[in-house]
Amino acid sequence: MTMQFNDETFRDDYTYRNSPEAIRRFPFPFDQDSYMYSVNLEPHAGGREGTPFNKRFDVDEHYVSEMRDRAITLADDPLRCQSLPHMELAGWDFLELVMDSKAEDYPDLFSLTKDGDRWHWVNRPLGIEQRFTFLDPTTLPCGPLEYITRQTQGDHALLDQREGNLWMDAGMVTSQADWSLDFDVGMNFFEWHAPVPKAHEMGIFQRALKFLLALPLSKPSRRLNWTLTVNPRLDTSPENYHKWGPEKRTVTPENVGAKQHLRVELQTLWRLPRSNAIAFPIRGYLASMEDLTTLPKWGRRLHRVLRDLPDELADYKGFTVNRPMIVDYLSKFDDGVPTSAGIYPDETGL
């Protein structure tokens, strides 16, 4: 079956919608009724058929519209894509990884033909056809990282590994949960994570970094992270906070179910072969409270998680002002029945 791509917006009139199928496959991030930071890393080695964990780089119904939104953001602010000079090779590594994976995993959408270093890339959903010479930057319309991430959902960071640390020396970041690539570029693992509450004291970043420094080739890892966003907006950047900030105060008891979205990041970690860098795609998924509560287990659980979340995390994630309204709305979907273990809803057969 070929995929249908939605024609939708992530700004202004916000026509973004999830199909029932997209709701069913949503990467719900809570495997129990409460949440706290942890070193939640697992192998990114497939997952149940139809879920976003199944393919190396998940492509879904929002692909084409998300790429259009990225282009709008980049036209307005080219600093959302940066690459320090020594990161060019990592950019090529990542381009190869994505092209190989997408062509193999979605042969009806993408194809890649290699004749030595002369490559031919076809991206059917975006109507792109490109012949280029691998590792020759003059044969692409822009740098390799920018080229491939204009065609790949989610934000992306490339981390250089040196001095026993990881350095965020390149990235494409147009749909972030309120952090600035331009400010963070060149920082190490502990520096860019500095604003996160609690996790430093819990030793999470020390343990995670140790794991990542030893990340082997061909054995990618993944983790989920989440926040809440008002309206299905991708560009919740600090750069534009003065533009989207007022929308956070438009939530009412009547519209909270439709306006308030859970924003989940499926983060994967890949060792790159030539540069020894790590690629960090941050693939975002948005679903409204109305969407999520169509699945009773998720409605019950989301209520309990958001009700009991420590204040520091709610503050950091930026939803303290709307929290009472959200919890009140969700309480109507929580009858107190125990929930089953794991993230999958009981009803979908996934």
Partner: protein, 200 residues
Amino acid sequence: MPCTEFSPSIFTRPVYADLVSRGAAPAIMLADGDGAEALIDLVARDASVMEQAHVMFIPLATNHGARLKALGAPSYHESPSFAACLERFQKALADARMGTSLYLAGTEGLIGQAMALAVAAGLAPGAIQAEHRGSIARRMQCVHCKGVTEAVTTDPFVCSHCGLTLFVRDHFSRRLGAFQGVCVDAETPGIVPPTQEIQP
């Protein structure tokens, strides 16, 4: 005025300790205002640091110049501002040989900018030391327009480039040599909390 004591904060918020002598090795020393006293104290602990030192001093409103000059560095220069000193400082960085130490002393604005330039010029981070003295004013980058406002002493403050009212974060970029300023009334335009003096 002793070395500034900073309150506990996040990992990127720079904290500075006393300068430690690296002996008679070649040295670049850059100080502003009361930072001169940090260099004077350093020499009191080990006079040999001045043997191959190139000292650059921006007095701000202080009169430490004569005492600093009297420490006898082979090269001593005063500049009226950081901007005026920039070319000279960058030349010194470009000329630096392996084993050259960089000593920075004074305000956060000077330390932040000089450190960013030194790292960009290829000086090893281990060769760079900084001691904070004097004003705790911060160099702030506006996350919205990217303009840098120098010597910010209040929270919130008005971005000198785009005019937005920004709150002062502790998140600091060594590449930019600046803290991050973020619109304080983004969600509630016009409703701005009372202005406070920033604390160390």
